[in-house]
Symmetry: C2
Subunit: 413 residues, 2 copies
């Protein structure tokens, strides 16, 4: 069996036309009219492939091909909603390739052992409704349907209202398809694979995330008249912390990342010592113990800076997710499959969140990555070369075939 | 002779009512209607004191009491324009006290040896017309009258238009009053005197100022997916520079101040490594050679940071003023006067700019400071206790008396 790669590309192109932005990006924010149009298009393709289509109470869409032993399916999938001005591949590539894997069975008149299913999860990006990965979160039992329905969008609509309005409020109970295994194919959205010059990323897990908002409060003073030893400079304190975050990542070692993305001094005037700086620290690690150690060091260094500069601090935890470790057997299977098909691969962890991490709560799950040029994503400049997209879809097909043929025994039924 | 301190306070209060803001601050931005109303009020007081009033081509106002040997006057003065929401003392205290010194002569029927003059300089704050200290700059020959007249305000009017509109375009040629000596009494606008617990600041000079805008350009990347060793983090580079600026001040030693007031990262999002940061560095020193050394170290460390983090940089010099050293004899005379009148004093340099630094180009000049509570200025919370204001005015009177009586021979005629 061989994937019809040209159909993948033409479908990526066709979907990109829905909600196309003036600079060629994609704008299909969850449960807007453009997202609905995208969903309708995907469903038309699923119908063409002869799939049985079910929609659940969160608007998650599942297209299933019956196998010889009907029951818990081998599932693929991702999302088709986008950020405000995103690329054509984030999410869509995984959904369209998943559908293509199933279509390949159909085209070759092959009946799989298990049911094969492709899923489209609602509101992965979290731009309009928070949190992100909402559809898969609820599907995996991480939040109740009722609670999710009451979430209010940035434009003041509830999720339930928008599900009804777009006609994507389904009857299927969330989580009712007991999944044998889940594999999500996705672009990396980072630079590691490109830099390693490998086609395939074997994703071992998703980093745990720790976000803090930190506000240093010092004393706003005249830049000319205030001697250095009398300053309580909030910008100095903040900058010491930025440098310390880098040192913490070095101390914890490879795999620990730390980022200060937001620095907002007040009053932000050239000749005034900043009296206050609000900043954010984003720490991520695949290892929960190491992530905890990084958080400990962060707090220790903040205390030290406060004493050194005579400033006060307010710390607020914004987000905390534990790392997700994907199913070892599926990870190995993907690595073997890549190798057997002649692709160099890199084992890596995902720095970004994905629906697969929610599915990993309820079934054996893993991910396949393909390179992102310059690591760029969430941007119209997002790009992956055709042969890399083809390679990813091929590895997905071969891995699904192996799982379907019972090459691994997953814990699920 | 003794100063009528209660008149000083009632006049400060009366002037504060002109352009009073909702939170009790003062708003008399140069050559606005409120500034004009303040000028009119000051002129009415000058007339009451019997002074001869002259206005020059820049709207600078000079009120003169004839002395026994008429000719080049001993001058006092400052400004009465304010920032957007300033205090009641910045500038006004010096003008009103200068007028009070002359009024004291008049009240006591004392005729001074020299003419005594009080000056009100136009647009000291530089909020509406740039540069700041414009009236005294032109008076001292640092800019031509024609060039100054063409300066366009932030609201699109030329200085000449606004001088005509407010009826403050005078006929007197700028610089035509040859001044024997100039003393400016001012609040410190910094914390040094309060912290030293002294009433009087003997100002030896004004710091040189070097302002740079520095823009680091790195690579904007995903905070989760970009390994630390592949980052070109503009915020890290900027923060290294903030810390280095502090180190530079320590290296150069006491008297060197350095401030990063502006830090503006792009895109300033929690989960994105900043690709660009624009920041400012404000360096000041009373010693030109040391200021040059600080600037040299600044550029050296920027180069080092660019190499270390793999970022590019754009550097723009925004402002560069050489330090001003006040007349040694007048400085000593002020110190002696403070001591003789029972006031502890502190010798210091001004970190802020003042009209006195322009007058120092054309006559022997110096300044007297009184403490600012918490070092706060350019703010409605600007405050100096009554007894401190009284002490400053008393020292001004006594110093002027000495100069008038020929205690020092200045270089001017």
């Amino acid at each position: 069996m061989k994937i019809n790669t040209s159909r993948i590309h033409s479908r990526i192109e066709a979907l990109a036309k829905v909600g196309k932005t003036s600079d060629g990006g994609s704008r299909r924010i969850a449960l807007t009219d453009d997202d609905k149009a995208g969903r309708d298009l995907l469903i038309s393709w699923m119908e063409k492939t002869g799939l049985d289509i079910k929609i659940d109470q969160l608007g998650n869409i599942f297209g299933t091909l019956k196998g010889k032993n009907s029951g818990s399916p081998v599932m693929m999938g991702s999302h088709i909603d986008t950020v405000g001005n995103g690329g054509h591949l984030d999410g869509c590539y995984g959904v369209i390739s998943g559908l293509e894997v199933i279509a390949t069975y159909v085209d070759h008149n092959e009946v799989p052992e298990h049911d094969l299913c492709v899923a489209i999860f609602t509101n992965e990006e979290g731009v309009r409704f928070q949190p992100d990965m909402l559809g898969s979160l609820v599907y995996a039992g991480g939040m109740s349907v009722g609670e999710a329905h009451e979430i209010v969008s940035t434009d003041g609509k509830t999720l339930l209202e928008e599900l009804i309005r777009t006609k994507y409020l389904g009857h299927m109970e969330c989580g009712s398809i007991i999944t044998h295994a889940y594999i999500e194919l996705h672009i990396e959205q980072g630079p590691v694979l490109e830099n390693n010059n490998t086609f395939i990323g074997v994703v071992e897990g998703v980093q745990g995330i720790s976000w803090h908002s930190i506000t240093f409060k010092g004393q706003s003073n005249h830049a000319g008249t205030t001697p250095m030893n009398m300053r309580k400079d909030a910008a100095y304190a903040a900058s010491k912390l930025v440098v310390a975050v880098r040192e913490i990542t070095e101390e914890i070692g490879v795999g620990q990342v730390g980022t200060v993305g937001v620095i907002t001094p007040k009053p932000n005037l050239i000749n005034v010592v900043p009296g206050e700086v609000q900043m954010t620290v984003d720490l991520r690690n695949i290892d929960e113990e190491k992530l905890k150690a990084a958080e400990f060091l962060l707090k220790e260094v903040i205390d030290y800076i406060c004493i050194e500069e005579g400033v006060k601090v307010e710390i607020e935890q914004l987000v905390r997710f534990e790392p997700v470790v994907f199913d070892e057997k599926i990870v190995e299977l993907i690595a073997d499959t890549a190798e057997e098909n002649g692709y160099f691969y890199t084992r890596l962890n995902s720095g970004a969140g994905h629906d697969a991490q929610m599915m990993a709560r309820i079934c054996p799950a893993a991910m396949i990555f393909v390179p992102s040029r310059d690591g760029i994503s969430h941007n119209p400049r997002e790009y992956t070369a055709t042969e890399l997209l083809d390679a990813g879809a091929e590895v997905l097909l071969k891995a699904i075939q192996k799982i379907d043929q019972g090459d691994i025994n997953t814990n699920a039924s």
